[in-house]
Symmetry: C2
Subunit: 344 residues, 2 copies
DNA sequence: GTGAAAGCGCTAACAT
DNA sequence: ATGTTAGCGCTTTCAC
């Protein structure tokens, strides 16, 4: 096991003190040194193949050049593009990111926050926060830079980057309305996540504004943003007494599950029931029927949140606007047709 | 910014020396202490909310409890399950993983290796290795535990976990043969990746064994494992003089691209041309036509490689078998039908 | 302009 | 059974 090259090795090689070497290698402190010695040191460092030890650096300076990224689950295709977006701004600046999956479990989330803190991350990007999330709130209160993505935490001043949920839901509702739908169900997301709650609020408000009165039995909330819950909730809607011609789902995976359940019941989308999604996750356009959905920014959201986090981290901590709302876009595909009849 | 609790704080609180605190908190060295003092220290640690500083620990012990994971691209759906498999064994043992994306670029890969080394990772799981990859070979030669996944590096003794490429290709070829196909093209993967080369070798060998003589113009190699290259290579095959009734592709994404190109040319899969994939990536079963493919283990491969890496890392470094070959499985879906006619 | 010395939080060899 | 000391590799006062 070849031992790594340290400042001491360079000092020995060049006959100067380690502190001089340290200064020579840092562009900021380099100025106070003779050009000649700087060059000699840089040459020796190069020759020996010196690589700074970020552990020692971090221990000394409290800056590890590492940020934590908390997401629910990387196998959820929504998150890889976000992660790459984050990386695209962090990596060129010398930051590495440590990605952890919470599976939306509070206890797991708590453990993982500790994993990140023990390793001295300079900040945390949290895309898996719960509406009420005391653990991360405390960490943020202690001064660790934290920004949440896609979701926000209530009653706190943690900055967040989210999508324009209201605009998305409203556009979709208008689109369905324009296609002739009047009895529109909402398959809502988990209400313990801000995304679920916000989209439900948006649905209520937008349907009011359009003059649709949506009976409460046409609104059902899922426990998780996944296909199984989409199936289960679609069943609940189908078994209710209220007829409907369209289901506006709080995300794509719920929509995919709902479509599957409809098919099991002998109902085809879009001809029998229109179904819409939210997010426009990768590969969605290859799945039949091609889902009409709201496209949110994914890669760009990652870039945005990373930039904001960097502002928060410093070197000179800037104030970051508490709220960033990213624009969304309606993507019309094949899962909506004009209504034929209402199914109860 | 509340400052973190250190061993010193606990020492002050309990009136013992920091080294005693250190010993009390480590199950291995705890034995040499009085039970009473151990309990007192543990209580104080708990009360003060002590969290060990893994940076300091790592600096001292050369073990950071962090492993590097190098993959080509997390947005490639093949990798998230692998990453979760790795995490599922590492995380319960207190390890964190640092994931980096190489985009199969050698220069980027080199930079990222340094990023990992600077942070003192205890080992590297490399799922993005090139057939010839001096950089990682050197790192491994210096004593850092490295295992490659899915791919292997040639002329080195780095342990690897790969799929049974030969069995997979052979099964698929037999299946096509059984369906009546005799003129079978191979859309090979990049030949600078062991996966691409191994699957091509397997195709040659298996077709020989089946008595098929495949003219060289029915074999074309892609530059990347993606849809665009699938389209491009399908075009090459279609424009060659040799007729064929089936394309055995080196992976699913190439197959998806090939099917798309066929469609552009007015050819339907499977009725006009059979197309097969490899990997069985997530969500593949939702995409029409549902691709007949070879299922490789993904989550399990991640688990396996993580376990092997742990053996290599220690505490008492075990010898790890150089080669691990994971079983594969034929998944028959809808992209293969008996041949109608051969297309040139 | 450069060297000396201290210390980040921790463990481990050595003392007692 | 516990305390003392040194040091991992680095930055940062403080001297000169």
């Amino acid at each position: 096991m070849k031992t790594r090259v340290t400042l001491k090795d360079i000092a020995r090689e060049t006959g100067v003190h380690v502190s001089t070497v340290s200064r020579a290698l840092d562009p900021n402190t380099r100025t106070s040194l003779t050009n000649e010695v700087v060059e000699r040191i840089k040459a020796a460092a190069e020759k020996l193949g010196y690589r700074p030890n970020k552990l020692a650096y971090g221990l000394r300076t409290n800056r590890t050049m590492t940020v934590g990224v908390m997401i629910p689950d990387i196998t959820n295709m929504l998150f890889p593009p976000i992660v790459r977006g984050i990386e695209s701004v962090l990596e060129p600046l010398g930051y590495a990111s440590m990605i952890v999956n919470t599976d939306n479990q509070e206890e797991r989330e708590g453990r993982l926050i500790e994993v990140l803190r023990e390793r001295g991350v300079d900040g945390i990007i949290h895309a898996a926060v719960l509406r009420s999330d005391p653990k991360i709130a405390e960490v943020a209160a202690q001064g660790l830079p934290v920004i949440t993505l896609n979701r926000r935490i209530e009653d706190s001043n943690i900055a967040y980057v989210i999508n324009d949920e209201y605009a998305g839901i409203r556009m979709m509702l208008e689109f369905l309305f324009g296609q002739g739908h009047r009895r529109i169900a909402h398959l809502a997301g988990p209400l313990n996540l801000s995304t679920g709650q916000l989209r439900l609020d948006a649905f209520r408000r937008a349907s009011d504004e359009l003059g649709l009165s949506v009976p409460s039995s046409l609104i059902t909330a899922s426990a998780r943003f996944d296909e199984d819950e989409g199936r289960r909730c679609a069943e609940v809607l189908l078994d209710s007494v209220e007829p409907f011609t369209a289901i506006l789902c709080a995300n794509d995976r719920l929509a995919l599950g709902a479509i599957d359940k409809l098919r099991q019941r002998g109902l085809e989308c879009p001809n029998d029931v229109a179904v819409t999604g939210f997010n426009d996750m990768p590969f969605l356009d290859l799945i039949k029927p091609r889902l009409t959905t709201i496209r949110i920014q994914q890669f760009e959201a990652g870039q945005m949140v990373a930039k904001l986090l960097l502002d928060l981290i410093g070197p000179l901590p800037e104030d970051v606007s508490q709220e960033t709302i990213l624009p969304v876009e309606l993507v019309v595909r094949d899962s909506v047709a004009p209504p034929k009849a209402a199914f109860a």
